[in-house]
Amino acid sequence: MNPRAIARLLRQNLRDLLPIILVIAFFQWVVVGVPMADAGMRMVGLVMVLLGLTFFVSGLESSIFPIGEGLADALARRGSVALLLSFAFLLGFGSTFAEPALAAVADQAAEAAATSGIIGHVPETLSQYSLMLRLASAAAIGVGVTIGVLRIVKGWPAAWFVVAGYALVALLSLAGTDTFVGIAMDAGAAATSATNVPLMTALGVGLATIMRGRSPLVDGFGVVALASIMPMLTILTAALFMGSGPA
């Protein structure tokens, strides 16, 4: 990548970063009214955010997008739907399991479960619970991506699936307990991350590009929405069967 392109990207990203800096500065100055503690380190942090953003976006555009779309293309040419679906599942599972944001929500959820007395407050039980939650979410995302890919292959409209999924989530959330509804919904939302979202999009767009009669813009999207609904459904269902415990 040539230096001029990097300079252009840096300029663009500085434009993206400027609004949040202005908001923080405004509230610090007008509402809080005292100088910020540790301002020097925070400036260093902001510079790292700017550099990180630039590298990450350029990395996505030159690695994840072409690899994902290329593999989708190759798999579609092979013509084996089973192979394609197993790739979709592994992609969803693999890209979600180690996601730090999901791990954070899962740890919080274990903490919440322990406080409300569903599981014992012992470190091993907590980490086991958190691991189970992560496995369940990752598997659910895998299923979501699989359904999303099958939908593209068959040409079914995304809206039907997503609306049906949301309707189920709404029904289950009315039946569940308060804490678990929050955990389940946030786990779904947190599981869609900076690494798996571009991959899912690349897979969908790649498939819709290669298949006749599909448009990448119309049919290629919708995988991410399905993927984030599945963990919600899984955890809400599990909570329903486990019961709310001695809360």
């Binding site: 990203n13 970063l17 609004p19 949040i20 908001v23 923080i24 509230f27 610090q28 509402v31 809080v32 910020m36 380190m41 260093v44 942090g45 902001l46 790292m48 955010v49 700017l50 990180g52 953003l53 590298f55 990395g59 996505l60 030159s62 690695s63 072409p66 690899i67 994902g68 290329g70 593999l71 798999l75 992609l91 693999g94 890209s95 944001a101 954070a104 919080q108 409209p157 809206a159 309707a167 989530v169 709404a170 959330s173 308060d178 804490t179 509804v181 929050g182 919904m185 946030d186 939302a189 947190a190 869609t192 991350s193 900076a194 690494t195 979202v197 999009t201 813009l217 290629g220 984030s228």
Partner: protein, 300 residues
């Protein structure tokens, strides 16, 4: 705080984050494609950028935006506590901060930047990447605002989520089809590496500061509202543009009828937007607006 140590440990987290998916991609690449991807060097450099970028980004966020957001949220929630529930002096600053933070944080969400660029390229330039990101950011701001109000007033999450789902479902089924999947995906794309930790820290700080709020119970549910709201704003946008397009089309048809009475229709120098070009074929720029129709609007 030792920055070098943190960079090292975050690099480890990032590598662990990317490793499983790298294995899946490599296995399928070897088994199915049986040759290295095109531009192999470029892809390798890209993966290097990915790891370095994500690491720097996460460490930078942990050092700057996340602690700042947390402190400010606690401070503003403290103001609500001290000055009572007075709307302008207590509640308004916190809510304004929530909305502005949600809006501006979405603008630095890397996957949204990359995907908005991809959407622009796929649409042949009809969809503007920056506008798309602004709309998603507006939705996310609304989501964080709703979430803050929920923590402040103890509104049940089920109620809010159900309300949003009831709004989204009929709009998703009736909106112009080419826009719906993108709109439904937008929330998932936006709630990622910046928004999730920032919102979690924000919600926790507010719930900890306010009395009678359980940080564990009331802290959850912010992310899902941030997930649902962008879909709603994009669907509203899709419905509005569709309505406008139809009005424009009707007006053009009327004008066409009129011009056919007075002179031959071949003398029209503008194109009728949308009606003849197929939706598959991307238009490079917005159809020119006939000057006389603007005069009509002004007369009305």
């Amino acid at each position: 705080m030792n920055v070098a140590l943190q960079i090292a440990s975050t690099t480890l987290t990032t590598v662990r984050d990317i490793a499983p998916i790298a294995v899946v991609l490599i296995v399928f690449q070897i088994a199915i494609v049986r040759r290295p991807p095109a531009n192999f060097r470029r892809v390798l450099i890209g993966i290097g950028h990915l790891v370095i970028g994500l690491t720097l980004f996460r460490v930078g966020l942990e050092m700057s935006i996340i602690p700042i957001g947390k402190e400010m949220a606690a401070q503003l929630a403290g103001t609500v506590l001290n000055r009572g529930d007075g709307f302008f002096r207590g509640v308004l600053p916190l809510c304004a901060f929530a909305a502005l933070l949600g809006f501006t944080a979405t603008l630095i969400e890397p996957s949204l930047i990359a995907i908005a660029d991809r959407v622009r390229d796929l649409s042949g330039g009809t969809l503007n990447a920056w506008h798309l990101r602004l709309m998603v950011a507006a939705g996310l701001a609304g989501g964080l605002l709703l979430g803050t109000l929920r923590v402040l007033y103890g509104i049940p999450l089920e109620l809010l989520a159900l309300g949003l789902i009831l709004l989204i479902a009929p709009m998703a089924l009736t909106a112009p089809r080419q826009f719906v999947p993108l709109a439904l995906d937008s929330g998932g794309v936006a709630t990622s590496v910046v928004v999730v930790p920032l919102i979690a820290a924000f919600g926790l700080a507010v719930a900890e500061t306010l009395p009678g709020r359980d940080p564990v119970k009331d802290g959850f549910g912010l992310i899902v509202l941030a997930l649902l709201m962008p879909a709603l704003t994009l669907l509203i946008y899709a419905h509005i543009t569709e309505r406008l397009r139809r009005l424009q089309q009707q007006r053009n048809e009327r004008m066409e009828g009129r011009s056919q009475c007075s002179s031959s229709s071949s003398s029209r120098w503008w194109k009728t937007p949308g009606s003849k070009t197929s939706s598959r074929q991307p238009e490079t720029q917005a159809p020119p607006e006939p000057p006389s129709s603007r005069a009509d609007v002004e007369k009305d």
